[in-house]
Symmetry: C2
Subunit: 510 residues, 2 copies
Amino acid sequence: MSKRALTVTREQNFPDWYQAIVRDGDMAEVSPVRGCMIIKPWGWGVWERIQAELDQRIKDTGHENCYFPLFIPMSFIAKEAEHVEGFAKEMAVVTHHRLMNQGGKLVVDPSAKLEEPLIVRPTSETIIGDAFQRWIKSYRDLPLLINQWANVVRWEMRTRLFLRTTEFLWQEGHTAHADKADAMTETLKMLEVYREFAEDVLAIPVIAGEKPANERFPGADNTYSIEAMMQDGKALQAGTSHYLGTHFAVAQNIQFQNAQGQLAFCHTTSWGVSTRLIGGLIMTHGDDDGLRLPPKIAPRQIVIVPMLRDKPEDATLLEYCGAIEKQLKAAGIRTLVDVKPTKSAEKRWNWVRRGAPILVEVGPRDAVGGNVTFMRRDALRDGDKVVTHTLSREAFVAEAPALLVAIQAQLFAEAKARLDGNIVTNIKTFDELAAYFGAAEADDEGGAFKGWAKVDWSRPEGIKLEEIADRLKALKLTIRNAPQAQEPVTGACLFTGDPAKEQVLIARAY
Amino acid sequence: MSKRALTVTREQNFPDWYQAIVRDGDMAEVSPVRGCMIIKPWGWGVWERIQAELDQRIKDTGHENCYFPLFIPMSFIAKEAEHVEGFAKEMAVVTHHRLMNQGGKLVVDPSAKLEEPLIVRPTSETIIGDAFQRWIKSYRDLPLLINQWANVVRWEMRTRLFLRTTEFLWQEGHTAHADKADAMTETLKMLEVYREFAEDVLAIPVIAGEKPANERFPGADNTYSIEAMMQDGKALQAGTSHYLGTHFAVAQNIQFQNAQGQLAFCHTTSWGVSTRLIGGLIMTHGDDDGLRLPPKIAPRQIVIVPMLRDKPEDATLLEYCGAIEKQLKAAGIRTLVDVKPTKSAEKRWNWVRRGAPILVEVGPRDAVGGNVTFMRRDALRDGDKVVTHTLSREAFVAEAPALLVAIQAQLFAEAKARLDGNIVTNIKTFDELAAYFGAAEADDEGGAFKGWAKVDWSRPEGIKLEEIADRLKALKLTIRNAPQAQEPVTGACLFTGDPAKEQVLIARAY
C-alpha cells in the first residue's frame, strides 16, 4: 500500500474511511450530546454554500421563507398520529421549564411541569398546517408556497455524522394547492429542483423516481426521491418530495372557498433536503487523500499557501500571494491565503484532506519568477506522485475560472460513470438477486462493492408488497425508487411473476 | 383624528400600535406554542437581510461560523451554575425521548426517560467552551474566533413578539484569547461592529457603552451594550458584548501552552444580537401608517403595483412594469412587481403598512406616457394627504439608487434627532430624577413620552449598587450604560454624593 493522506483507505474499511474524512477534513465531530454533531467551520462553509445555492432555486420557483416554532404541542402530534399510519414516535419531549437548586445540586424543578408536553419538531407539517388553516380562506390565497430552514430532532438509536444524527439541519418546503394537478406539479417541480441542484452544484449524479408504497412518508399519497450511488455501491436517499393528498388538510381543516363559493380541502405537499447531503458529497467525491469538493460548493475554491520561513523574504512572498488573491477575488473566485502559523507541508495536506479544488503553493522562486505552482485536487496524483503544474501568474489568473469549471465537470463525470456502470439489468429472479448481492454483513458495513439492480416488477401494494419488503430486508436490501426515465417492460415481475409494469432500483442503502 | 393605515396610533396606545404593525405589516404572529412566534415572509425577509449584512461583518473581522448542538447536558449547566452567580434557571428541559400509544391515546413513554436531562440551549457558552477545551492546545491556536447563527430558548413568563419570546433567533460569537488585552480588544471590536451595523444598516442610532456591574451577563467581567431609543422614549438593548475574563475557561479547563511552554487559562468573550432587533426597527421607524423600513434592510426596496382591471390593457401594463423591474434589478435594487389577485388600493396600503421604501403605482396613463408615479414611504404624507411624485421612466430608473440612499439617510436623521434631543443632562438629585420620570404606570405600558437622563455617578459596586438599583426599580428605571463618549465630570454622584467618576444613562427599558 502506498502512502495516502488519510490513515485508512476506502478499500480497507469504507466506514472508517468516511469517519476519517469527517474528522481530518475538519467537517464535523461528535458532541458530548448523544447523537448530536458539532459542524466545524469547513463543514459549515459547505452547508452555507448548499443553503445559498438551493435557497436561490427555492425562491426562483416562487416560494417564500418563514420561520415556525421549534416546539410542537403534543396534541398536534396526537392528531397527526390518528390520521397517519406508521407514524414514528422517537422524539425529544420537553416536560419541564425550570431547574432548581436542591441541597447544592441542580435538579429539574417538579413544580415546573408543563401542562402539555412539547415535542421538539421532527418535521413541521402539523405546526405549519395549523397556520395554513388560519391563513387560507379563498382560492385567491392559493397556491401557498412556504419554505423554512431549520433544525429538527429525531431520536436515533444508531447515529453517524451527517448521515443520521439526532439533531440535523434541513429545509422543509410546505405548500397548499387548490387541486391535485397543481399539487402534483409542485411535487415534481421540486423533485426536479433537487435533481438539478444535486447534479449541477454538488456534482452528484442521481436517479429521480417514485418510492414504492411501503417507503412513502407517513401520510403521503406519493413520495418521490433522488437516489445517489456512494463509492461502496450503497444508495443514499438525497432528497424527497411528497404529494400529501388531502390527508393533512382533512386532519387540520385546511379549507378554501373556491371560485364557485364552495368549501374544499387543499391538496398539500412537502419536500426537504438535509445536512445528510454533506455525507453524500464525502462518499461520492472523497478519495484516499481526503475530500474532493466540487468548486461550486467549496467554501474556498483556491487556497494559496505561502512557503513562509520566518525570514525577511516572507514579506515579499505575502505581498505576491496577496496580489494573486486580489486578482482571483476580482474574478469572483472564493480565495484564501493561509497565513496560519503552521508548517507549509502540514498546510498542504490539511487542504488536500479538506478538498479545496485548487491548492497553490508559493515559494520565493515563484514570487521572483512571477509564476504560480498549483495542484488540482481532482487529479492530485499520477500513480503515487503528487502532480504540480506551473503557469505564469497572468496565465493562472486568466485560466482559473475555466480550471474550476473543468474540475466541477471532472468530478461529475467520474461519479456519473460509476453510477451508469454499476446498475445491473439482467437479474430476472429473486435467487439471482440474492446471488448478486450475496449475504449481508452482520453489521451492515463494508463488504465487496455491489452496485444496484434494476428489475421489472408489477407494482404490488398491501400485504404482497410487505412480503416482498421482508424478503428484501433479509438481504438488507430495499427498493429505492421507480426511475422517472423508464424503458418499456415486457416480462414478468421478479417478485410476483405477474406481468411487469415498470422498473425499480434495488440496493443496499444508508 | 385623521385616518391612518393602522387601526391605532402611537399616541393612543404605543403597545397596541406595536402589535398592529407586527400583525398588519405581515411581520410575525403568535403561535399555538406559548411564547413562540411564527415569523412571516416579510418579517423573515428582514431577518435574512440582517443575517446577510451582519454575517459579512463578522466574517470580515476574521470569525468563522460553526454549528453546535441544540441540546446541552444538564451536567454542563450545573457546572456553570457553580461558577456563575445570578444564573437563570428558566429553561426548557427534555426528559424523555419517546411517545407511546396507551389505550388509543398518545402519552410520554415512561420507559424512555433520559438518564441525564437535556436543556434546550439558552446560550452556548458551556457547550462551545467544552469544544474549545478540546480544540485549543497551544498559543498557535489562538485567537479562536467562532460564531454561530442559532435558535435559543428561555422560558419567559411574559412575552411580546420579537422583543421577548421563549424561542428566539440570534447569532452568538464565542472567542478565546491568550490574554486580557487581546480579549478586551475583541470585545470592543464587536461592540463597534454592532454600533456601525445598527446605525449604518438599520438606521437605528445607538449609544455604545459599558453596563454597570449589576447588569452584567452572569460570569462576565465587563458587559458592553448598544442602547437605542424607541419612539415611546424607552431604551432597547440592541446588542451586547462580554469580556468573560477567565471564568468560563477555569470552569471548563480551557488552557493553552504559551510560547514559554507554560499552561495558562484563556480569556474568553461572547457577543450577540437577536431577532429583538426587528422589534427595534419597528419602534424606531414605524409611523401611524405602519412600518418604514430602511432600504438597506428592506426585503424589497421598490414595489411596483400595476393597476390591473381585468381588461386587455392589463397586458401592456404588465409589460411596462416588467421592463421597469428589469432595469431596477440590473441596478442591483431588490424589486417586486405585485401581481397578486388583490385590488390595487388594498395592495397600496399593504405595502405602506409593510414599509417598502418606494411604492410605484403604474396605471394605463403612465404606461402610455412613459412615466412612473411613486411614493416615498419616509415621506408618505403632506398633512393628511398622500404625496405622489411623477418622473419619466428614464429619470426614475436613473434616480432610484440615490432616492434609496436619501431615504436611508432621512430615517437615520429622524431617529438621531429624537435620540439627541431627548437626553436630559441637568438632573442632579434623585428627587429630580423621580420628578422627571414621574410615577411608573402600573402595567409598565404607555404613559407620556420620557427620554433618558444622563447623570453623573461614582461607579459604586456591591451593596451600594444594589441599593441604587432597587431605588431605580421602584421607578421602573434602570441604568442602561456608561457611554463610551464621556464628557468630563466634576460634580457629585447623584446617588451617593461621592465625587462622580463618569456619566451613565438612566431610562425605562424593554
